[in-house]
Structures are given as structure tokens and as C-alpha cells.
């Protein structure tokens, strides 16, 4: 049963298992263990970002493609639901329409970008996606009658989804289910081909796999995952705006989460997203203490200023890329191996 559920891809490290179980329990019981709006917000954000980062890992870690358009798909999900609900009112039909339309749009764009630019080199794809994503961001702010411009859209949900508890469990349940689906994808024969393309493109092609097709399908799956995450996030926030879904800062956050958690390990996205969202919300408080303690010394308090938390995660990110590309999860698994597991 568990093997089926995890697609045979176990954490393979005692510490990692313990941490993952702890995160799962904490998220599953969040409304009861951590009462209060702020902590419930943190829990929902973790759930959404686990899905978002896992779908990005399918691209970056498993297929070896760098895309900067992931927030665009995240935004399409958010805006799809947001626009439908804001224009058509809080009904189930509007919700369904918004979800279907945004998934279809994402699939179309991902297919087009993939077929046009995945033939060429990784760098080209990265640059094209950056350009397209920034164009989309401009589009969202320009079409203000439709998208609410910089202010975004606030909307109401159908009656049943309105209580915080219900919407939290919808977000958590869907994110968990889709995460398991992604785990299934990367452990399928399809996922193995993706890995082989990442390791040696030329050889995979010589073995008879059409790499453009595989890459494009991976790109589409990742886009759909990101769109689903965007839908969940806007359902949770009951709001969609450029800063919550489309901004380039979120793209940087996703990169940090994937790399620090561990590229090419689905579980890394759980750890990365949890660590990052916690740092985003609670590291500042710690840094404020440290910064206050160091008052009077030149420059040091500035380095530890609460707003500079991203600096330290950036340093961690670079160190991860150089010294442990498989991130925290890779480290934990390697440590498990040495102990004879």
C-alpha cells in the first residue's frame, strides 16, 4: 500500500523519513496544533509551494531544463480562478470554468514554448522563458479591466468552501494528491527517460528516444502542476495579484527552494519549501534579535538586518550548487548510506 502510494521511491534515510513524517503530520493537523491566522497561512503556503516546487523540480532536477516561466503558469492558475470568480460571481460553475480555462491555457502555452525552443540549447530556453514570463507580467498589469492591474482581484468562494478549515483541507488534500502523482511520474519509465536525457542527451537520442517530445511533455506536466498550485493559492487567499503569483521574486524563491531542498529528489521540494517559507516568516524575527545585539559595529548589523534574510539563503544556494547539488535530501541520503542502510 505504502509502496504503491510512494511509487516505490522511499526517503531512504531515517532522518529524512522522520522529518517528512513530521512535516506531513504538522500540515495535516495544522488547524488544531497551530491555531492562529498567521500559522495557518504559513501551513497553507507550505502546502501550495511544495506542489509548485515539486513541479519545477520535474523540469530542473529531473529533465535538466531551466525555465523562468514557472511563475507565469502559477499566475495563469491564480488569474484563471480569480477572473472567473470575480466576473461571474461565487458559483461552482465559475470555479470549474476558471480551473478548466487556466489549465487549458497553460497547456497550450507550455506546448508552444516547448516545441519552439526546446530543440535548442538550455540557455536559449532559459532566456526565452524569461522574456515570455516578463511579457505575461506586463500583460497582467496592462489589462487592468480584466486583471485588476497592480491591485489584483479579490473574490468570494462558493458557500461550501468559505470556512477557513474547509478551504485549508481542500488545499492540503489536492496538493498532497498531486505531489504523489508527480512522484509517480518521476518514478515511471517516462521519468527514467527524462533522467537519461539529463545525464546524456546524445546517448538517449541514439537509443531511440525523441528528446524533444519527452522534454515538451515534461514541460507541459510541470506547467500543469504550477497552474494547479496557482489555483490552490488563489482559492486559499481569495485574492490574485501580481505580487502573490506573477512576480519574478517568486521565481527566485522557487529556485532557492528546489536547489536547497535537493534537485532531482521530489522530497527535496518538501524540505526546501518548508524551510524557505518558515525562514521567510520566522527567520526575520531571529535576525532582528541578532542585528539588535550587534548595534554599534559598522556594517554587521546591516548584514543581519531582518530584510536581508534573502542574502543568507542566496549564499546557501550558491554553496548548494557547488558542493552538494542534490541538496539537503542528497546529503541526508548519503549520510544514511554511510551508516550501512
Amino acid at each position: 500500500m505504502l509502496t504503491r502510494l510512494l511509487s516505490g521511491d522511499f526517503p531512504r534515510s531515517r532522518v529524512l523519513t522522520a522529518v517528512l513524517v513530521a512535516i506531513l503530520i504538522a500540515l495535516a493537523l495544522a488547524p488544531f496544533i497551530f491555531p492562529g491566522t498567521r500559522s495557518l497561512n504559513v501551513a497553507a503556503k507550505v502546502a501550495v509551494f511544495v506542489l509548485l516546487v515539486a513541479s519545477y523540480d520535474l523540469l530542473l532536477g529531473y529533465t535538466g531544463i531551466v525555465s523562468f516561466a514557472h511563475t507565469m503558469f502559477f499566475g495563469i492558475g491564480g488569474y484563471g480562478v480569480g477572473i472567473a470568480m470575480a466576473k461571474m460571481g461565487p458559483g461552482w460553475g465559475a470555479l470549474a470554468l476558471g480551473i478548466a480555462a487556466s489549465l487549458a491555457l497553460s497547456l497550450g502555452i507550455a506546448l508552444a514554448i516547448g516545441l519552439l525552443s526546446l530543440r535548442v540549447r538550455a540557455i536559449f530556453f532559459a532566456m526565452i522563458t524569461l522574456a515570455v514570463a516578463s511579457f505575461f507580467q506586463i500583460l497582467a498589469s496592462q489589462l487592468s479591466p480584466l486583471t485588476g492591474g497592480e491591485d489584483g482581484l479579490t473574490f468570494r468562494l462558493p458557500e461550501l468552501l468559505r470556512p477557513r478549515l474547509v478551504s485549508y483541507y481542500v488545499v492540503f488534500g489536492v496538493a498532497l494528491a498531486l505531489f504523489l502523482v508527480l512522484l509517480r511520474v518521476v518514478n515511471s519509465p517516462f521519468g527514467r527517460v527524462l533522467l537519461s536525457i539529463r545525464e546524456n542527451e546524445f546517448r538517449s537520442e541514439a537509443l531511440g528516444y525523441r528528446i524533444v517530445t519527452y522534454r515538451t511533455v515534461a514541460n507541459c506536466l510541470a506547467a500543469l502542476g504550477a497552474t494547479a498550485a496557482g489555483i490552490l493559492y488563489s482559492i486559499w487567499l481569495r485574492y490574485t495579484g501580481p505580487d502573490t503569483t506573477l512576480s519574478f521574486n517568486i521565481m527566485i524563491d522557487i529556485l532557492l527552494m528546489v536547489v536547497i531542498g535537493g534537485m532531482g529528489t521530489m522530497y527535496g521540494s518538501v524540505l526546501g519549501a518548508t524551510l524557505f517559507v518558515l525562514a521567510q516568516n520566522y527567520l526575520r524575527d531571529l535576525m532582528k534579535l541578532a542585528s539588535d545585539a550587534l548595534q554599534g559595529i559598522p556594517l554587521l548589523p546591516n548584514l543581519l538586518h531582518p530584510d536581508r534574510w534573502l542574502l543568507w539563503l542566496g549564499v546557501l544556494f550558491i554553496l548548494c550548487v557547488y558542493y552538494f547539488p542534490s541538496g539537503i535530501v542528497g546529503k541526508l541520503r548519503a549520510a544514511g548510506l554511510f551508516k550501512g542502510r
Binding site: 540549447r121 532557492l256 538586518h305
Partner: protein
């Protein structure tokens, strides 16, 4: 590169073609002159910022996603010097204005070049040949240095005053031409000319061009290609710093994110021009600058997306850019 530019003039001819097509659309000649000069000035500044990136890619096969940080740092360097020079700035004569601006620009170049040297040494050298890691590491560098700018210069937007002699406009007939834009065109042309001469008339330029075509061969002939790499990277960063200082003075303010904001346009220019091609980068920058200004006047809603549209059209016409370089 020289022979290519001579044999293939079609992309170059696009620049006057776009300008001529825009003339009847804009309607009035003075407005058209103003827009054209503005477009050329914008293109020149973009070229200064983008040329280093494309050259580094052509020679070293490194795409530096942190290139924007050199632009920001250059602008901050210039702002730091200029805000200290209030006495020269207020004197009002051209000479005293220049005595403030020249050191400011030099500081911008030096600071950006120094940072470029550090980047090449510490961040990029370990990941030559690995595109995935290059993109990730340079993104990491971007995050860290953007935050470090906040640490050193504070989180607020810094106003960057323009010296008096280059504010205001020349009035020729009915056309108003901002002085600063003329200056930008002059500096941009000077940079392009200097680069062209350096690449086509000197021994170093010969080595760089040969390195773009075939680095292994250059190395096996006994030249240290790594040293060439460092030199080009530092020069490219310095140019980005110069471009950043000019861009900052153009916008009259400096933020840590400004480099990242321009970077998207720079990427588009580099893609349009053909990855690695300096001539293509120049043509691409001019096209983007002109088109942005014309559409900004004719259809403001379209303006921000015009460069994407241009990129798509160019890639449909020439999938590898205007002047494709051998190996891309």
C-alpha cells in the same frame, strides 16, 4: 565578423527601414525626429549594457544571468560620486559638469569591472562548460549581490542628479532633442567604434575573434585562453557599468533592481542579434530602442510588448538571430 557585416547588410538596413515606415505613421516630422533620437539613444545605452554579455557568451560559452548586477553597481557607483560632487555640479559650466561626470563614470566602470573580475574568479570559473550550473550559480550571485547592494547603499531609491549642462533640450526647427540623448548616442557610437577597432584591427581582437570561432585551436597555438576570458569578462562588466551609469542618469534614479529590469530587454537584444555576435547586438539594440519609442507614441499599450513581438518575428525569419555565430 568583419566579412559577415560586409556581406550581409539586410539586418543593418532594417534600422533606417523601421525609421522610414514610422514616419508616415507618426505624422509630424518634428515628433518623428524627437522619437528617432530618443530611440537611438535608448538603443545605444542598451547596446553598451548588452555587448559585454554577448561577447562573453561568444567567447566563453557562459551566459551570465547576473549581468544585471554590474549595471546596478555601475549606476550606484556613479550616484555615489555624483552626490559627493555637488559643488562642481552647481557651477553650471560645461567644464565643471564634465569634471564631475568623468570621475563618476570612471568610478562606475572600475567598480563594475572589479566585481566582474571577482565574479569570473570565484563564481563562474568552477562551472565552465556546465550550462545548468552556470545559470543557477549566476542567479545565486544575482540574489546575493542585489542584497549586498542594499547592505552597502541602503534599501531606498537613490536620486541620481544629472549635471546642468546635459539637461534641457536643443530646439531645431520644431523638434526638441534632449541633450542627454545626444550625449548617449555619441558615447554609444564611440564605444561601438572602439570595440570594432579593437576586435578587427588589433592582435587581441584577432585572438578574441579566433577564440569565439574555435577556442581549442587558439589554446593549442599557445595562447592562454583563460587570460583572454578574464580580460573579456572584466571589459564586458566595465561596459555594463558604463551603461548602468548612463541608464541611471537617464532615469535620474538608481535602484538595486534596475539591472534585473533591463536584463530582460538585454536578453531579447542578444537573442535578436544572434548569441555571441557584437554586430548583431548593435543592430538588435537599435531596433529595440527605435521600436520601443515609436510604439510608445503610437500605441502605448503595445510598447512594453513590442520587443517580444520583434523577437518572435526575427526568430521566425532567422531562427538563430540576425548575425548567427558559428556554433550556436
Amino acid at each position: 565578423m568583419k566579412t559577415r557585416i560586409k556581406t550581409d547588410l539586410i539586418p543593418l538596413a532594417l534600422i533606417p527601414a523601421i525609421a522610414l515606415v514610422a514616419l508616415p505613421l507618426v505624422g509630424s516630422a518634428p515628433t518623428w525626429v524627437t522619437l528617432t533620437v530618443a530611440g537611438l539613444a535608448m538603443g545605444m545605452m542598451i547596446f553598451m549594457m548588452a555587448s559585454g554579455l554577448t561577447l562573453v557568451f561568444g567567447l566563453m560559452d557562459v551566459m551570465n544571468f547576473a549581468h544585471g548586477i554590474f549595471i546596478s553597481v555601475g549606476a550606484y557607483g556613479a550616484a555615489t560620486v555624483l552626490t559627493r560632487m555637488t559643488r562642481q555640479m552647481e557651477a553650471g559650466s560645461l567644464a565643471s559638469d564634465l569634471s564631475a561626470m568623468v570621475p563618476a563614470v570612471l568610478a562606475a566602470i572600475a567598480l563594475a569591472a572589479l566585481l566582474g573580475w571577482f565574479f569570473e574568479r570565484v563564481l563562474i570559473r568552477p562551472v565552465y562548460g556546465d550550462h545548468l550550473k552556470q545559470i543557477l550559480v549566476t542567479m545565486g550571485g544575482l540574489i546575493v549581490f542585489e542584497q549586498l547592494i542594499h547592505v552597502v547603499w541602503g534599501p531606498d531609491i537613490i536620486p541620481l542628479p544629472r549635471p546642468g549642462a546635459i539637461t534641457g533640450a536643443f530646439i531645431i526647427g520644431e523638434a526638441a532633442i534632449e541633450r542627454y540623448r545626444v550625449l548617449a548616442v555619441i558615447v554609444g557610437l564611440a564605444v561601438f567604434a572602439a570595440m570594432w577597432l579593437l576586435l578587427n584591427r588589433t592582435r587581441i581582437g584577432l585572438l578574441v575573434r579566433a577564440g569565439v570561432e574555435n577556442p581549442e585551436m587558439v589554446e593549442s597555438l599557445g595562447y592562454r585562453i583563460k587570460r583572454l576570458f578574464v580580460g573579456v569578462f572584466v571589459a564586458g562588466s566595465g561596459l555594463a557599468g558604463l551603461g548602468g551609469a548612463m541608464w541611471g542618469m537617464y532615469q535620474e534614479q538608481v535602484t538595486a533592481q534596475m539591472g534585473m529590469q533591463v536584463l530582460v530587454v538585454i536578453f531579447i537584444v542578444v537573442i535578436i542579434g544572434g548569441l555571441g555576435s557584437v554586430g548583431g547586438c548593435f543592430v538588435g539594440a537599435m531596433l529595440v530602442g527605435l521600436l520601443a519609442n515609436y510604439t510608445g507614441y503610437l500605441a502605448p499599450k503595445l510598447a512594453l510588448g513590442s520587443n517580444i513581438l520583434l523577437m518572435v518575428l526575427v526568430l521566425l525569419w532567422r531562427p538563430r538571430g540576425l548575425y548567427p555565430i558559428g556554433k550556436a
